[in-house]
C-alpha cells in the first residue's frame, strides 16, 4: 500500500476541484487530485457541455426541418436527414477533447492525478482505491469537491426506460416518445432538444408553471416556444410511477389519472449534493441542510478542510464552483480572500434562452429596496429582427435613489452571451447611467441592455 504526503488534497475532479488544483499548482503547492471517473465532473461529462452540444445539434436540425416548408427569408431545403450516431460521436468527441484538455492543464500545473475512489479517513487522510492497489494520501489541506448527483424519485427509480439527465445525454437514438418529469431548466433544456430531434415530448410539473424558479414574465416566451414545438406541458400534475405494462408514465392531474406512453422517462427533479460514499460521516462536519456548511472562505467546521461547488449548496453551477475553487487555492497558499461576489449569473439554455444575474424586481422589493425597472423588448431591436428572433426582452432593476443596478434578467435567442456584460455591470457596481453611457455596438442584441437602462431612467431612444 502506497503512501503519499502532500500539501493539498483535492477530492473530486469537477469544475470546483480541478480549478482549485490548477490554481494551487500555480502557487507552487504540492497537489494531489483524486477522481474516480473522468476529469471535468458532471459539467464536462454529463452536464453543461454535452447538453449544449445536443441542444445545438437539435436546433440546427429543427431549423432545417422547419425550412422544408420555406422560411421568412426565402430558404427552402429538402427533407433533412439526421444521423444521430454522428451527433453522438461529435458530442462525445467534444467531451473527450475537454477531458484531455483538463488533464493537460493539471499536468502543466504539476498536479498529481490519482485515479480511483477516494474515501476520507479523517480530516487529513484519504484512502484511494486505485487500479494498482490502495494508496493513502496525507495532506495538510483538504478541498472537498465531490459535486452532486441527480435526485431519484422513489417511485421512479433510475433503470430501464427511466433515466436521469446523464442517461438522456447518452441515448443512442432519439426516442419516439419521451416523458419529462420536472419542468426546471434541466428538464426543459433536454425536453426541448429531444422535441426538436423529433420525439413526442410531454413535460410533467407539479408547480403551476414551467421554470418555477424564474419569474413568470421571464418564462412566458419559453412557454410559448415550448407550445409551438408541440411539447405537451402538464402543470399541477404529479407523476406517480410507471404503468403496469411499464411503457407509460402514470400522471395525476387534478382528479384525473393519465397514462403517457413513453419510450424514455427523463426524471429531472433536481440535484442533490454528493455527501455519501466518500467518508463524510467520518469527518463529522457541520451541515447546512443537505449541504456541507461553509463560511465565506469556503472553510468547513474542520480546520484546513475546505469545500467547494455543488456539495456546499445552491446555486449548483459550475462557474460558482470554479470561483470557489480558485479562491480556496489562494487561501491555502496564504492569501487573504473571501467570496464576496455580487452575482452568480444563471443561464437556461432553453428556447429562447434565459439569463438571470442579481436580483429580480420581486427579490429587490423583498429586500426592502425602492426600485425602478426598465424593460426593453427584442421586438424593437434591429439585430434580433435580422435573426428572425424578436421574442424576449432585457430587464434591468436598479435602486430608485442612486440608480445602482441590482439585477438584470433577459430572455431571448442567443442571449446567454450577454451574461458576461450583466455580471460585469453588477460586479463593478454600475449605475443605470454607467451602462446607458457605454456605447454598445450596433446592430447587436447587447443594445437592448443599454436601452433597458435608458428606459429605467426614462430616457429610452428606440421605444
Amino acid at each position: 500500500m502506497g503512501e503519499i504526503t502532500t500539501k493539498v488534497l483535492v477530492l473530486g475532479g469537477g469544475p470546483g476541484g480541478y480549478v482549485a488544483a490548477i490554481r494551487a499548482g500555480h502557487h507552487g503547492l504540492d497537489v494531489v487530485l483524486v477522481e474516480e471517473q473522468r476529469l471535468g465532473g458532471t459539467c464536462l461529462n454529463v452536464g453543461c457541455i454535452p447538453s449544449k452540444a445536443l441542444i445545438h445539434a437539435a436546433e440546427a436540425y429543427h431549423h432545417a426541418v422547419g425550412q422544408q416548408s420555406g422560411s421568412v427569408f426565402g430558404l427552402t431545403v429538402e427533407k433533412p436527414v439526421m444521423d444521430f450516431t454522428k451527433t453522438v460521436a461529435w458530442k462525445d468527441g467534444i467531451v473527450t477533447r475537454l477531458n484531455t484538455g483538463v488533464a493537460a492543464l493539471l499536468k502543466r500545473s504539476n498536479v498529481k492525478i490519482l485515479r480511483g475512489r477516494g474515501t476520507m479517513v479523517d480530516g487529513k487522510t484519504c484512502e484511494v482505491e486505485t487500479d494498482t492497489g490502495p494508496e493513502t494520501v496525507r495532506a495538510e489541506h483538504v478541498i472537498l469537491a465531490t459535486g452532486s448527483v441527480s435526485t431519484e424519485l422513489p417511485f421512479l427509480p433510475f433503470g430501464g426506460r427511466v433515466i436521469s439527465s446523464t442517461g438522456a445525454l447518452s441515448l443512442p437514438e432519439v426516442p419516439a416518445t419521451m416523458a419529462v418529469v420536472g419542468a426546471g431548466y434541466i428538464g426543459l433544456e433536454l425536453g426541448t432538444a429531444f422535441a426538436k430531434l423529433g420525439a413526442k415530448v410531454t413535460v410533467v410539473e407539479t408547480a403551476d408553471r414551467i421554470l418555477p424558479n424564474y419569474d413568470a414574465e421571464l418564462t412566458r416566451p419559453v412557454a410559448r416556444h415550448v407550445a409551438n414545438l408541440g411539447i405537451e406541458v402538464l402543470l399541477g400534475a404529479r407523476a406517480t410511477g410507471l404503468s403496469a405494462s411499464g411503457d407509460a408514465l402514470v400522471v395525476e392531474t387534478g382528479n384525473e389519472t393519465r397514462e403517457i406512453p413513453a419510450d424514455a422517462v427523463l426524471v429531472a427533479v433536481g440535484r442533490k449534493p454528493r455527501t455519501a460514499g466518500w467518508g463524510l460521516e467520518r469527518l463529522d462536519l457541520d451541515m447546512s441542510g443537505p449541504f456541507i456548511r461553509i463560511d465565506e472562505r469556503c472553510a468547513t467546521s474542520m480546520r484546513n478542510v475546505w469545500a467547494v461547488g455543488d456539495v456546499t449548496g445552491d446555486p449548483m453551477l459550475a462557474h460558482r464552483a470554479m470561483a470557489q475553487g480558485e479562491m480556496v487555492a489562494d487561501i491555502v497558499s496564504g492569501l487573504p480572500r473571501a467570496f464576496h461576489k455580487v452575482a452568480i449569473p444563471a443561464v437556461c439554455f432553453t428556447d429562447p434562452e434565459i439569463v438571470s444575474a442579481g436580483l429580480s424586481p420581486d427579490d429587490a422589493k423583498a429586500a426592502g429596496y425602492e426600485i425602478r425597472t426598465g424593460v426593453f423588448p427584442f421586438g424593437a431591436n434591429g439585430r434580433a429582427m435580422t435573426l428572425a428572433a424578436g421574442d424576449g426582452f432585457v430587464r434591468v432593476t436598479a435602486r430608485a435613489d442612486n440608480h445602482l443596478v441590482l439585477g438584470i434578467q433577459a430572455v431571448g435567442a442567443g442571449i446567454s452571451e450577454l451574461s458576461a456584460s450583466f455580471g460585469l455591470a453588477l460586479e463593478m457596481g454600475a449605475r443605470l447611467e454607467d451602462v446607458a453611457g457605454t456605447i454598445h455596438a450596433h446592430p447587436t442584441l447587447g443594445e437592448a441592455f443599454q436601452e433597458a437602462n435608458l428606459k429605467a431612467m426614462g430616457e429610452a431612444i428606440h421605444i
Binding site: 490554481r23 500555480h26 502557487h27 507552487g28 465565506e296 472562505r297 480546520r303 480558485e326 487561501i331 491555502v332 497558499s333 496564504g334 492569501l335 487573504p336 480572500r337 473571501a338 464576496h340 435602486r399 442612486n402 440608480h403 445602482l404 460586479e427 463593478m428 457596481g429 449605475r431 447611467e433 454607467d434 446607458a436 453611457g437
Partner: protein, 490 residues
C-alpha cells in the same frame, strides 16, 4: 524599505500553535522595542509577545481569534523608519500603497507565504474611524459626465515593468497597477457612518481584493463614486486618514437604535463553547435530582466555623461534599472515571481529582482539587479557596486547570431548585448543588422545619446506568444527612 518578520516564538508547554486573542497594534502603528504586539493564548495561559525592534507595523499575520503555528509570522514590521501612512511613491512607475506592495511581496512567496489566511475585508476589525481629510470626488451627484471622468482616469498607463510576480493568472495582472484617480480635490470626506447600517459597500472586484489584502474593512470606507461606489482613491484616502476621531453627527430626540454589536467568540469563551458543544454532542446526558436534608450538616458546619473561626479557613459546603465523594467513590469506581470515546476505553481513577466549576470574570473555569482522597476537611477547604482565587485572578497554572476526574458545580444561593449540569468531558459524572431552603418536612408524625437542598447530577449514560447513578447519589445523600459518617474511619 526593509521588513522584519516577527515570528510566533516557541512559548513552551510543547504547543505547536496558539491563538492570537488580542492585538495591541494595528497596521500603520509605530512600535518601540519591547512594546507588546499581541496576546496569544495556549491551552489556558495567555502570553504577551513583545516587539524585538523599533519599526512600523506593515501587516498582521492573523486576525484576533485565529490560530497561528509556532514559527508562523505574527507581524511584519517595516524597519526602514518611513512614515506609517503609505504615500504614493514613484519608484516603480505606479502608485502602489505599502499594503498592496506588502501583499505583492506575499504573493511572491516571501515569508508570508505560510501566513494564515487573514484579514478579510468585510470582517469586522478594530474600528479605524474615518475623519475629514483632504480628498477625492464630490459624493453623491454624478451623471454621465462623471462616468466620462472615470473613464479618463483609467487611461493612465496601467502596465508597468513586471515586478516580482513570477506566476501567471488573470487575477494577478490587475493588482496594484491601477493608478489612484489623478488630481486630489479639496472637498472634505463626509463625516458620520459611510452608509446606513446593514447596507453592503459597493466596489469593483479589484477594489475589494485590494481592501482584503490591505486588511481594510470596506464597510468603514466612504465611497465617493456614483451610488456611493468605493474606488481606489477612496482606499487611498482611508489609508492616509489615519485614526483621527470621527466627528459624530448630533442627534435630537429619540432615535431607533439599529446597532448590532458583533462580538468575536475567541479565547476562553471559544474554548468553553467548543468544550460544551463537544460534551453535548458526544455525551448521552441524563440528570438525576435528589432531595438532601442538610440540617445536621449545616449545624456541624456552623459549629466548626465558630469554633475555629480564628485559626482555620472558613468551611463552605464544598469540602464536605468532597469528603462525601471521596468516601463514596471506592464503591462506585465507574463514576470517578474518564471515558476516551475515540479509543472506547474507560479509565477508572483511584485518585479523586475534583473539578470545581468556578465563575471567573472571563467565564467558566474548572480548577482541580488534586488527590482529594489524601486531604482532610480543612486541607480541602484551604485548597478549594486557593484554587478559586487563582482562577478568578487569572493566575491559575495549567496543571491546576486540567486532570479532574469528577466535577462539582455550585452556584450557592443562586443554585436554583434544579439544574441539568453539562458533564466536563471526558469525565462521566458531575454533581450539581442547588440552593438550601428551609422547608416543612413530615417527620415522626409532625411537620418539622428542615434545611433541604437538592443535588442535581448528570451522568454519561453511554457508560453509566441509571441504577448505578441513583445508588451513587443515594450513598452521597446518606453521608451528608448523617455527617458523622464522613469522619468515620472504618
Amino acid at each position: 524599505m526593509a521588513f522584519r518578520s516577527v515570528k510566533l516564538p516557541d512559548i513552551g508547554e510543547g504547543v505547536a500553535e496558539a491563538e492570537v486573542v488580542a492585538w495591541h497594534v494595528k497596521v500603520g502603528d509605530a512600535v518601540r522595542e519591547d512594546q507588546p504586539l499581541a496576546d496569544v493564548m495556549t491551552d489556558k495561559a495567555t502570553v504577551e509577545i513583545p516587539s524585538p525592534v523599533h519599526g512600523t507595523v506593515a501587516a498582521l499575520g492573523v486576525e484576533a481569534g485565529q490560530m497561528l503555528a509556532v514559527g508562523g509570522e505574527l507581524v511584519r514590521l517595516d524597519i526602514g523608519g518611513e512614515a506609517s501612512a503609505p504615500e504614493p511613491r514613484a519608484t516603480t512607475g505606479v502608485d502602489v500603497s505599502a499594503d498592496v506592495e506588502a501583499a505583492e511581496n506575499a504573493e511572491a512567496g516571501q515569508p508570508v507565504s505560510e501566513l494564515e489566511p487573514a484579514a478579510d475585508g468585510l470582517e469586522p476589525r478594530p474600528p479605524i474611524p474615518t475623519s475629514p481629510a483632504p480628498h477625492a470626488e464630490v459624493p453623491g451627484e454624478a451623471g454621465p459626465r462623471s462616468t466620462q471622468n472615470r473613464g479618463a482616469s483609467f487611461e493612465a498607463p496601467l502596465r508597468s515593468a513586471p515586478q516580482s510576480l513570477p506566476r501567471t493568472g488573470s487575477g494577478d495582472e490587475e493588482r496594484g497597477r491601477l493608478q489612484p484617480a489623478a488630481g486630489r480635490r479639496s472637498n472634505p470626506l463626509p463625516s458620520g457612518p459611510p452608509r446606513p447600517a446593514g447596507e453592503k459597500p459597493v466596489a469593483s472586484p479589484a477594489v475589494r481584493k485590494r481592501a482584503l489584502e490591505a486588511g481594510i474593512d470596506l464597510r468603514q470606507v466612504h465611497g465617493t463614486g456614483p451610488a456611493g461606489r468605493i474606488g481606489h482613491e477612496d482606499i487611498d484616502a482611508y489609508l492616509s486618514a489615519g485614526d483621527e476621531p470621527a466627528t459624530a453627527t448630533p442627534v435630537i430626540g429619540r432615535q431607533p437604535n439599529t446597532a448590532v454589536e458583533e462580538i468575536k467568540v475567541i479565547g476562553l469563551r471559544r474554548r468553553i463553547a467548543q468544550k460544551m458543544a463537544d460534551a453535548k454532542r458526544k455525551i448521552a446526558h441524563f440528570s438525576y435530582v435528589e432531595e438532601v436534608d442538610v440540617t445536621a450538616l449545616e449545624e456541624l458546619r456552623a459549629a466548626l466555623n465558630t469554633r475555629y473561626a480564628a485559626t482555620r479557613p472558613k468551611l463552605t459546603l464544598i469540602p464536605f461534599l468532597v469528603q462525601a465523594l471521596v468516601r463514596t467513590v471506592p464503591d462506585f469506581p465507574q463514576m470517578n472515571a474518564l471515558y476516551d470515546d475515540d479509543a472506547e476505553v474507560i479509565h477508572r481513577h483511584a485518585g479523586v481529582h475534583v473539578g470545581i466549576a468556578t465563575q471567573t470574570p472571563n467565564g467558566l473555569m474548572v480548577p482541580v482539587l488534586r488527590h482529594a482522597e489524601a486531604r482532610d476537611l480543612w486541607d480541602s477547604a484551604a485548597e478549594v479557596k486557593r484554587l478559586a482565587d487563582a482562577a478568578r485572578g487569572g493566575i491559575a497554572a495549567r496543571d491546576e486547570l486540567t486532570g479532574s476526574t469528577i466535577t462539582i458545580t455550585s452556584l450557592g444561593a443562586l443554585g436554583g431548585i434544579v439544574s441539568t449540569p453539562v458533564i466536563n468531558r471526558p469525565e462521566v459524572a458531575i454533581i450539581g448543588v442547588n440552593k438550601q431552603m428551609m422547608r416543612p418536612v413530615w417527620r415522626d408524625g409532625a411537620f418539622a422545619p428542615r434545611l433541604i437542598m437538592n443535588l442535581s447530577s448528570s451522568f454519561d449514560h453511554r457508560v453509566v446506568d441509571g441504577y448505578d447513578a441513583a445508588m451513587f447519589v443515594q450513598a452521597i445523600r446518606a453521608l451528608i444527612e448523617t455527617p458523622a459518617l464522613l469522619f468515620m474511619d472504618s
